[in-house]
Amino acid sequence: MLAKRIIACLDVRNGQVVKGINFEGLRSAGDPAALARRYNQEGIDELVILDVTATIEKRRAMAATVGAVARELFIPLCVGGGIRDSGDASAVVDAGADKVSLNTAALADPTLITVLAGQYGSQAVIVAIDAKRDGDRFSVYARSGTTAAGRDAVEWAKEAEDRGAGEILLTSIDRDGTKSGFDCELTAAVSAAVRIPVIASGGAGSFDDFVDVFTTGRADAALAASIFHYAEHGVADLKTHLQRRNIPMRLS
């Protein structure tokens, strides 16, 4: 049976893992390769490395970080943050990333999705959508959640799929870092509208939040960062909990 995936996100700045609350007030959580190794031992299904303050000068440091993680871990690895063109994508793919995640650049130029899907296959292209509640709809934000993109999240997800995206990484800006649970309404709305997997992100605070997002939220995968970083809850304990709630898990 196809398992629901548990994905750990490493938000990296200057080679160190950090995690913010509502994208602000970053605090340090350690060395990315060490954390990746720990998650792998605990049975994480996939890793995402996000370069949260990507600049051109830092790009080379990022490739080194990706290379250090990819050298010893043989699970899917996605890299995102500041990927603007196929040159940026090829730098992280050459360093060992299996997937790249596009956000602001895809909003600015949606044809980039198709170009990268043609180059690496759709399975390698994730479109990341940061969404915020706006009445009874969900609005898309660019530039790490700071700029309204003037798009509806469900419509944008469908367009991304049509243009060749292989997965959607959907983050609720309202919930991110709050530990008040995933936005299941947002997740279910997007998941019902597309036929590609949807990774829910933002708000994980308890094991039961994951149960909710896999059932009510219809998510194919759930991503979290801070809940894992400070060893509050182990990945293995979470997966055992979900399995007991009849959510199919990979238990290694």
Binding site: E72, I75, G96, A124, D220
Partner: protein, 208 residues
Amino acid sequence: MSIALVDYGAGNLTSVRKAFAYLGAGVLVPATPGDLDGVDAVVVPGVGHFQATRSLTPEWRAAILGSLDRGRPLLGICVGMQWLYEGSTEAPDCEGLGVIPGRCTRLGGGSDALKVPHVGWNTLAMPRDSLLFEGVPPEASVYFTHSYAGPVNEATAAVTEYGERFAAAVEQGLVMGVQFHPEKSGATGLRILSNFLRRVSSLAAAAV
């Protein structure tokens, strides 16, 4: 021991290369079909569309079949495994190598109930013993990402279910294939690749 990783432009080879390097195997990427002459095994990786296998020209096909004739194992990964069959409905005018009977078809039979592509970790069932899965426990999980798959038949070494039962792996003499990504399947995937390498090295040693 030298493993030829055939690069026909279907996705990136970095992960497969890193996994073989981690297991201590030397990998070369042949520039021409003639470069397959002295190798101990051929690996055909690949992600994406079956159409990409069009780059495996008659010269490449002849060289790959020639390597099999010399007793060298062949491993297809993902689209590389689909190519071992006679073809795929994804690109009906594109011929497969045809060393495994049958044609690959789209998962879910066009039904809307199932999300396609099939992405993530799914379990294996082994209908019989095989070298590829030696020491791999039943119900082990591996990582998939694909929309098409090959039919279950006498060559099948592992079966996975996603809407339907499909061949997760084939093993028929020296011909082996995996629909999943062993290079992305953690310890289980490394075990499968090292089983393949053990077979390659024992055959290479026997040939000296």
